[in-house]
């Protein structure tokens, strides 16, 4: 391949799914009376009320940050909350990266992430591409059950275990589905039409071109991560291409749902995980055309197993109405306490926002850590003003000191679990808890930190983000 360093490719992957799952049978049973055609098999991942495309993309990217900052952080989504505020910039602060790291947002297409990844690979730079998706859907639509919420991230770089050996892109304004300012939920066209055109006009030619660039035939592909616009596309295309590689994105669709811009990258983890040295792996992002990339695997890719692990985890949503509420499909009357709105001030965000979203506390001259920082340390052994050393708490575990499940104040998904959390380095922080275990939280439980929406001002259309404490281990589906 010309223009790309020989060993350049994918160095590591990260995947994130929200804990909650909706068994599609639950929904189809609820809607059986309507006669609407609904997917019945498998489950979809459902974001908690305080998760969005950004928080999930940050979670996916966290394992990729390592000891050195990348040269760029790219965020991709078709469902980002802000339309004039770079999500990548917020993610940069949440990941506590230096401000000198370049940031870019990619949007408006399900293949935004693969296009961003291809750009990173072709520029031969060490970058993180992270994609998150939480797309709004309409009750009764097949998309509501077919889509899922989740995120996937990739770090590129030299000396990669999966190097890019060929690629091709094709632009084709095939309107298989769309969302717009006036129709924010996905509108889809007939599947048979989409399948026929997508296979013949997009998938087959772009895969052929990528394989040709890699100097292989499609039949040499061992694994594929193909984001299908509708199911069955890869089966049809593979037949034409003479390719037997399984499409690992199907497992994502079945068990978590179509993750939009994150779908192909999530499937890539599943495809790379079982790949052996010498295997060729296809990545295909679809949306208004396609990007196809062929990787040659030299050794295991760090983090590829996280996708498979995330698919196995999950807590089933027993209530369809809770699902409708979490997805914003119904608006319950939560009473006057829900009228509460808190305005975040830009001046305050400018002063302390980076410490807040980065969860950065301070270490005093005795070594004790506190959050937030203060001029006079909270440590009673100290009596003078001092400048504290930054300490990031987001990646540390802690222990619950006190806890309650609050049912009075408004929460979109009650109860509101919160309490004091003690970090091993001395910091003690009053925190919200998420991913409530079946038996509830208990004093002494160990917790880890997750980025979440802190506050949502619906009237002003603004969100703030902070970290919340979650159990260290998630239940595997069917076990809790």
């Amino acid at each position: 391949m010309s223009g790309v360093a020989e060993s350049f490719g994918i160095r590591a992957l990260g995947g994130y799914l929200p804990l909650l799952r909706l068994d599609r049978k639950t929904a189809s049973r609820e809607l059986a009376w309507s006669g609407l055609p609904m997917p019945r098999m498998g489950a979809r991942a459902v974001a908690d009320w305080d998760e969005d495309a950004l928080t999930m993309a940050v979670e996916a990217a966290r394992p990729l940050c390592g000891d050195s900052a990348p040269s760029a952080l790219r965020f991709a989504s078709t469902s980002a909350y802000f339309t004039d505020r770079a999500q990548s910039g917020i993610a940069l602060d949440a990941l506590a990266m230096p401000r000198t790291v370049r940031t870019a947002d990619a949007a408006n297409s399900r293949r935004a992430a693969t296009s961003a990844l291809l750009d990173a690979l072709l520029s031969a730079r060490d970058e993180i591409v992270t994609a998150g998706e939480q797309r709004p859907t309409q009750p009764g639509s097949a998309a509501q059950l077919a889509f899922g919420d989740g995120a996937a991230a990739v770090r590129t770089g030299p000396d990669a275990p999966a190097r890019l050996v060929g690629h091709a892109s094709l632009s084709h304004d095939l309107v298989d589905r769309y969302a717009s300012r006036d129709h924010p939920v996905s509108y889809s066209y007939e599947e048979r039409f989409v399948r026929d055109i997508a296979v013949a006009e997009v998938l087959v030619p772009v895969v052929r071109a990528a394989c040709a660039a890699a100097g292989i035939t499609p039949g040499q592909l061992a694994h594929a991560a193909v984001h299908e616009p509708v199911s069955g596309c890869w089966r049809a295309a593979a037949k034409v291409l003479g390719c037997a590689a399984p499409n690992h994105c199907e497992a994502v669709s079945d068990n978590a749902g179509d993750l939009g811009a994150a779908h192909a990258l999530f499937g890539l983890g599943l495809a790379l995980d079982p790949a052996k040295a010498g295997d060729f792996v296809l990545l295909l992002g679809f949306g208004s055309g396609a990007d196809a990339m062929v990787f040659e695997v030299a050794r295991p890719v760090l983090g590829a197993a996280t996708m498979g692990a995330a698919l196995k985890e999950g807590q089933l949503l027993a209530s369809f109405s809770r699902f409708l509420s979490l997805t914003g499909s119904v608006e319950l009357d939560w009473g006057m306490r829900a009228e509460f709105e808190q305005k975040a001030q830009a001046t305050v965000l400018e002063r302390v926002g980076r410490d807040m979203i980065g969860f950065v506390g301070g270490r005093d001259s005795t070594g004790s850590v506190q959050f937030p920082k203060s001029a006079f340390p909270v440590n009673p052994a100290l009596s003078q003003v001092e400048v504290m050393e930054d300490v990031r708490l987001a990646d540390l575990e802690a222990t619950i000191v006190s806890i309650t499940a609050d049912r009075l104040n408004f929460s979109p998904d009650p109860p509101f679990d919160f309490g004091l959390v003690q970090f091993d380095n001395g910091a003690r922080v009053l925190m919200e808890m998420v991913n409530r275990p079946a038996e509830g939280f208990r004093v002494g439980d160990r917790v880890r930190m997750r980025l979440r929406i802190k506050a949502q001002n619906r009237r002003l259309g603004f969100r703030t983000y902070f970290w919340k404490a979650a159990p260290l281990v998630r239940p595997v589906q069917g076990e809790g």
Binding site: M336, R337, Q342, K343, V348, P380, I403, L408, P415, V443
Partner: protein, 399 residues
């Protein structure tokens, strides 16, 4: 330690409105009710008030900032009026301001008045905070029951008490206050409630059920203070005097520095120790005849009994179940029903507590009257167990 203000300030008049859902009256009317009663009790004219401290805690929705709402409502002409706020310790804070003014000799007669008009929010519980400053970027916005509920788990963990046993002791706290509230004509909640109903009430914040939580009310209470000499000159032969007022505030260590297990409220302990010293009480368990404490939640009262040193560590549940703090017990707590049943208009509560002790000290408490009351203690707790302002006052008689 400084000598303090023991017996330097006499209370010559007090007033307290009926607490509750006062749809009939606003904050100004509440202040007028309490003030008129206090003036009549003191036997002085309004013009004798030389300075005033008005306490209200939740300025966004009810009374309003500054001296002006009180100055207008009471038509205090050119009087130096100061508005104070210290969360749930606000009422005692107002009394502290007025008492210090008299004790310093700055004025002869001062007014302390606390008021809150909470039932205009349209919902139960305390009003919500909407300003959105730095703390709101990270601090969970739990409710008041949510913050105090956490005392229960921590207390049970420290003392190895089974959750069910603790819950029964907490229920007795509420049961007792309902019994007392039924005898309190100005109380918000005047119905007795049985233990089963308390124990089986819906959860508000684990493990606090509905009956573990105090009422949120409208109300006002006022005290007129002066020197013992002027009190005598006004015909108060053995006036009620302030033996101590002490306050202690968190500097953040409980919630930011890992040295506290969450099973007690350190500020209460500090304020109480200072107050006992100021009042000259060496054995408060034997010397105190009654307490009015900040029972915003049943678990709070339980923990306060140990924080005030009235129960041994880990023994408050036993003492409570043994009736030590019931109306007929050794040190009755909340003879007027407490926050639980008299109600909790935040800025007024500290002065409402003083009103009950003042009334008992003068033998004017009717059906609730204790046979012997020489010393009574009031306790306010603002904020949350992990970030609090605690105020302790002790009242007695001059002679």
């Amino acid at each position: 330690m400084a000598k303090g203000i023991r017996d330097k300030v006499a209370i010559i008049g007090m007033g307290c409105t009926r607490f509750g859902e006062r749809w009939d009256v606003g904050a100004d009317g509440l202040m007028v009710e309490a003030f008129v009663e206090a003036l009549a009790d003191a036997g002085i004219e309004r013009a004798r008030i030389e300075a005033a401290w008005v306490g209200n805690a939740l300025d966004d929705i009810n009374v309003g900032n500054s001296a002006l709402p009180a100055a207008h409502a009471l038509r205090l002409d050119k009087v130096p009026v100061t508005r104070v706020e210290n969360m749930c310790a606000t009422g005692t804070e107002a009394l502290r301001g007025a008492a210090y003014a008299v004790a310093s000799g700055a004025v002869d007669i001062a007014l302390a008045i606390g008021v809150e008009k909470l039932k205009d929010t349209g919902y139960g519980g305390l009003p919500l905070r909407t300003k959105g400053m730095q703390n709101d970027l990270w601090m969970p916005y739990g409710s008041a029951p949510g913050t105090f509920a956490q005392l229960a788990g921590a207390y049970a963990a420290r003392h190895g008490i089974a959750a069910g046993d603790l819950k029964r002791a907490m229920a007795h706290v509420s049961w007792k206050s309902h019994q007392n509230g039924a005898l309190s004509p100005k109380a918000h909640l005047r119905g007795a409630v049985d233990m089963d109903k308390i124990l089986n009430a819906p959860l508000i914040a684990d493990p606090l059920g509905l009956f573990d939580c105090c009422g949120v009310s409208d109300g006002a209470a006022a005290a007129i203070v002066t020197t013992p000499e002027i009190a005598r000159a006004l015909g108060k032969a053995d006036p009620v005097t302030i033996k101590a007022i002490q306050l202690s505030a968190s500097n953040g260590w409980e919630m930011q520095f890992g040295a506290w297990d969450g099973a007690s409220v350190p500020n209460t302990r500090v304020a109480a120790a200072r107050a006992y010293a100021e009042a000259g009480l060496r054995d408060p368990r034997a010397e105190l005849d009654m307490t009015e404490v900040h029972d915003c939640f049943s678990i709070t009262e339980l923990v306060i009994m140990e924080d005030l040193g009235l129960s041994e560590e880990g023994r408050a549940p036993n003492d409570i179940l043994d009736g030590r703090y019931d109306a007929g017990g050794a040190i009755p707590c909340q003879l007027d029903g407490g926050l639980k049943c008299f109600g909790h208009p935040v800025g007024a509560s500290g002065l409402r507590m003083a009103y009950e002790v003042y009334t008992q000290l003068q033998g004017r408490a009717g059906e609730r009257q204790r046979s012997k009351v020489d010393f009574g203690l009031t306790h306010n707790l603002g904020g949350s167990p992990f970030n609090s302002v605690a105020a302790v006052a002790i009242l007695g008689r001059l002679n």
